[in-house]
Symmetry: C2
Subunit: 239 residues, 2 copies
DNA sequence: TATCTTTATATGTATGACATAATACAAAAA
DNA sequence: TTTTTGTATTATGTCATACATATAAAGATA
């Protein structure tokens, strides 16, 4: 039998899919902005000639991704979708694959190495003081317990993100924390041991000092060393 | 009248909200993984004592964020949510605020500066050849038209993301392209003019050469220069 | 064995009814 | 007048039922 080629399959969209597309068109055509209210379900249903059920399903999708909000009696209004929140929802279900998790962890490394210029441009005296406190706290505890604590790790690096003054980036990191701890927990014991061994590698204190008196370039290099155990693991991983 | 204090409002979750939470619990308790199939709508409805409508709405939310897929007659199975796709959907509606767009653009700069180590560790001979072609193409056209083309910009930087070999990162950039062009279009003419003015700033060719014979540090520094006009604009923006 | 046809079934769509919460407005109280 | 309280209205939220549709799986046909 001759192979069938060059024939595009006819689109197989469900009614809800079509309605969703029409809604998107509608928003575009009418140039609707955040805060604008949209017609009620029954009006849409009538105008498009479908049941309220279908309209509701389409609208519900929009509600789920945060494009609209609805209130009883008041109706529906367009809202600014919270891109991070969608992310979050997906993660809550613990269904991200190994590869995605690794990718995301890698993303963290990239972010922290790339953040240098932003940090130097935006850091304030208060930021430095905060970091000082965080590092001092860590050093005090480590003398006693000599146990690596994920908490301090998060406190220090979290503060860096905060200093970036980029809300999206910051929330991104908030939400990725569980991923970080996941990867952290699943790291080989060896990697854990030689991590942050003072002297060999750059410590939080070192990073802080560079922030105080150094340059973005030096900071990047230092951060690279600081993250080296992670980097090594990730870089040489079979992809 | 005495002021009312210390009374927490009682939770006001819709039925669908509650059902959604119960479903999440259910997945957790039964330790369900990607690929596992779940009971049908009617069974859930009966088990939870609510109408099929409510169950469907809750399930639809999950379907929207990509946690489940459903097929007629077959039922529903857990799927790996595509975090990028969710992002994408939100963006399609053109409802992201100015601030978010700026944040995201900033994110791009951070990513490209932070990517250096990854690139050097993972680039192949073919990658370099591809880049060579892209740059040559650009140079040829620029001689004729001397017009800056977003296309070449995207081709070159897109290739870099591709070379990172990080699928998530790559798709992230794919989806952010519209944001990039948006910010690009809205840039002040001055910024556009002194951008990539050969000689003054680092060109794509320069970056490529560093990739061939240089080091990650040099590449980072070069990329910093290359992106300087963008960086300046963003760094000194009132936040 | 391979291919076609039928059948059972879970999701998809339609309809109509009622519940609920939020608004606007009227009425009452201060 | 101002503030509080009640009431009607209305758009979304929930329910029940029926039917449409696609398709996996079983059965029939070659």
């Amino acid at each position: 039998m001759k192979k069938l080629r060059n024939i595009t399959p006819l689109e197989n969209l469900s009614l809800v899919d079509k309605v969703e597309n029409r809604l998107k068109e509608y928003f575009r055509e009418n140039n609707l902005k955040i805060g604008d209210s949209i017609p009620k379900e029954l009006e849409f249903a009538e105008a498009l000639g479908v049941s309220r059920t279908v309209i509701r399903e389409a609208l519900l999708r929009l509600r789920t991704i945060g494009v609209i909000e609805s209130k009883k009696r008041k109706g529906m209004v367009l809202t600014q979708p919270d891109i991070i929140q969608n992310f979050e929802k997906a993660i809550e279900y613990n269904l991200l694959g190994e590869q995605t998790l690794t990718d995301i962890f890698e993303l963290r490394l990239i972010l922290e190495m790339g953040m240098a210029d932003l940090l130097f441009a935006r850091m304030t005296k208060e930021d430095i003081e905060d970091l000082d406190t965080i590092v001092a706290e860590q050093e005090k505890e480590e003398v006693n317990t000599s146990i690596f604590s994920l908490e301090h790790e998060i406190a220090f690096h979290g503060k860096l993100y905060e200093m970036s003054n980029n809300t999206t980036l910051q929330r991104f990191q908030d939400l990725l924390l569980p991923v970080f701890s996941y990867v952290h927990d699943n790291m080989s014991p060896e990697a854990k041991n030689f991590k942050y061994s003072k002297g060999t590698f750059v410590t939080h204190r070192d990073l802080l000092n560079i922030l105080k008196t150094g340059t973005p370039e030096r900071f990047r290099e230092a951060m690279r060393n600081h993250l080296e155990p992670h980097l090594e693991k990730v870089l040489h991983m079979a992809k």
